[in-house]
């Protein structure tokens, strides 16, 4: 048997490489304490803080439920947009992406496993938020679980597309997290993820009207606070879809595997 035939005989099925890479991504994520803290724990800490600050009712429901919905939305942007963008820039500038390109790992498998890994982190975070809410503030679980899961996946996809687009636009590892947080934190306030924006000046509310997180907050509110199906929000879905497609197109044309020239 020739060496070639032996190799072909041992060829690994595509799904095994995917599972292998997904496990690798999970190991890389949880091993980094900074990532685990800022991406996974930070929204939980914010929930503890905001949940004990806000009292009363909002949109006819206890306000702590609205806080929870806002933080699920913020967690999505934090994980899929900010976390993914920062990780990708660091990996690109460190030469990890370039190094992986010379291995037999297919690029689609790499990107797919990174996205699924991000979704797993965000999914676990969402579960942790609901468990925390239930234990401390008596918030209920989503009544329409299928619609809620679909909402989560839609949000993760849109913000991941924006995360990869942002990573493509950032040229250096230094300051990449500052740039990303400079986008994320104002967006979180202006979109209402950290509480109602009714009291904000009109100009800030106008800016909020075009941000993707605003529409994702609306979608999560509809599904979680009011028990509506995600399809009852065509406007939010359309705006999110437009942002997602824009992010995807920018990524396709501008994404680089190699470090910036120095």
């Amino acid at each position: 048997m020739s060496a070639e035939a032996i190799r072909v005989g041992l060829r690994r099925p595509a799904h095994r490489i995917f599972v292998h890479q997904l496990r690798s991504e999970q190991l890389v994520f949880w091993r980094s304490r900074e990532a685990a803290f800022f991406i996974f724990l930070f929204p939980l800490l914010l929930f503890l803080l905001l949940g004990s600050v806000y009292h009363g009712r909002y949109q006819h429901v206890p306000i702590v439920r609205a806080v929870l919905a806002g933080l699920v939305a913020y967690g999505c942007a934090n994980t899929a947009f900010a976390g993914l963008a920062i990780q990708l820039v660091l990996r690109r500038e460190n030469g990890i992406l370039k190094r992986l390109r010379s291995t037999p790992l297919p690029p689609a498998t790499y990107v797919g496993s990174l996205l699924v890994s991000t979704l797993i982190v965000f999914g676990l975070q969402t579960i942790a938020l609901f468990l925390l809410g239930r234990a401390l503030y008596g918030t209920p679980f989503p009544s329409d679980l299928a619609s809620f899961v679909a909402t989560i996946v839609i949000g993760a996809a849109v913000f991941a597309a924006l995360g990869t687009a942002t990573a493509s636009a950032i040229r250096s590892a230094e300051g990449s997290s500052a740039v990303v947080n400079f986008i994320l934190l104002p967006m979180a306030f202006l979109s209402g993820a950290f509480g109602p924006t009714r009291g904000y000046p009109a100009v800030l509310r106008a800016i909020g009207e075009v941000l993707p997180l605003t529409y994702f907050v609306k979608l999560v509110d509809a599904v979680y606070l009011h028990g509506d199906g995600f399809w009852t929000q065509p406007e939010a879905l359309a705006v999110l879809g437009a942002w997602g497609v824009a992010g995807l197109l920018f990524t396709i044309f501008k994404f680089r595997w190699e470090p910036s020239e120095r």
């Binding site: 070639e4 490489i17 292998h20 890479q21 690798s24 190991l27 304490r33 390109r101 037999p104």
Partner: protein
């Protein structure tokens, strides 16, 4: 069949012609050194062969593939050590080897590779605790874990202390004994001389000389014969050292004199290299 065949290779970045018509071929099992100053086109050439860059012109065959349209086994059969790359700082040496091993159809045993690159005592250490030399050995380990037939080493010992360099040389020699083909780029002449079966000197995007290290040192510069006479140092450069030396020594014997401080030396590869890569107006 040669492992690598390159002819008429050209590559420009805008108006800068980095590679201007390069030809060479590397046999299976050969350690081939690509030597040249910074900006000579070494990394561009190697990155075209690795499949990172598209060429503007020329023919390239690497393990029977065109790297721009590689066969499915191409990336299975190459191992790459990049000039600069880092790995996930919080993972251990063993974990990173295992991750890379998972990409290949027939990887080598992870523990065996870790021992081969001399990191067995660091197998459970996180990457961020490794020294520069140890990180470079990790790069070599993950290049070898897929059991490649062809290994690209782009300046593998830059920044090493002398001891670490010796250790790396031993490892690269062991690749030859495993039957691997190695393409080594370096700007250390002693490294090329110590490790390579053949060396190509690259300058301004063209190969100015190819040959074994000893061919290069004999073909290009004359042998130097030095001695002192009446306290004055005399230097003779010659293409016929045997004849000249015989004349000198027999004349001295006939006079009953000693040739004080007699030295015969072949130019080092370094001198050949400096002569080859010097600017024309300086030479």
């Amino acid at each position: 069949m040669p492992a690598i065949e390159v002819s008429g290779l050209r590559k420009a970045y805008g108006s800068l012609e980095a590679v201007r018509g390069v030809d060479f071929s590397i046999e299976e099992g050969e350690v081939f050194g690509l030597l040249g100053p910074n900006g000579a086109g070494k990394t561009t050439t190697v990155e075209i062969l690795e499949g990172y860059r598209k060429r503007d012109a020329g023919e390239v065959r690497v393990l029977g593939s065109d790297p721009e349209r590689p066969k499915p086994d191409f990336r299975q059969r190459i191992g790459v050590v990049l000039q600069q790359s880092q790995m996930w700082a919080n993972l251990t040496v063993r974990e990173i080897h295992a991750i890379f091993a998972g990409y290949y159809w027939a990887p080598r045993d992870v523990e065996e590779v870790i021992a081969l690159v001399g990191l067995q005592d660091k197998a459970d250490a996180r990457v961020k605790t490794l020294s520069g030399g140890q990180k470079r050995r990790l790069d070599l380990g993950i290049a070898l874990v897929g059991d490649p037939d062809l290994v690209f080493l782009d300046e593998p010992t830059t920044g090493f202390d002398p001891q670490a360099r010796r250790a790396a040389w031993e490892m690269i020699r062991s690749l030859r004994s495993l039957g691997k083909t190695v393409l080594l780029t370096t700007h250390y002449l002693d490294e090329a001389e110590q490790l390579s079966d053949r060396v190509a000197v690259l300058r301004d995007g063209v190969i100015v000389r190819v040959g074994t290290p000893s061919e290069l040192t004999t073909a290009d510069l004359q042998t130097e014969i030095r001695y002192r006479r009446n306290g004055e140092e005399i230097l003779v450069r010659t293409d016929e050292p045997t004849r000249v030396l015989a004349e000198l020594t027999s004349a001295a014997v006939a006079r009953g004199e000693e040739l004080d401080g007699l030295q015969v030396r072949r130019p080092s590869l370094e001198e050949v290299y400096l002569a080859l890569t010097a600017d024309e107006d300086e030479a």
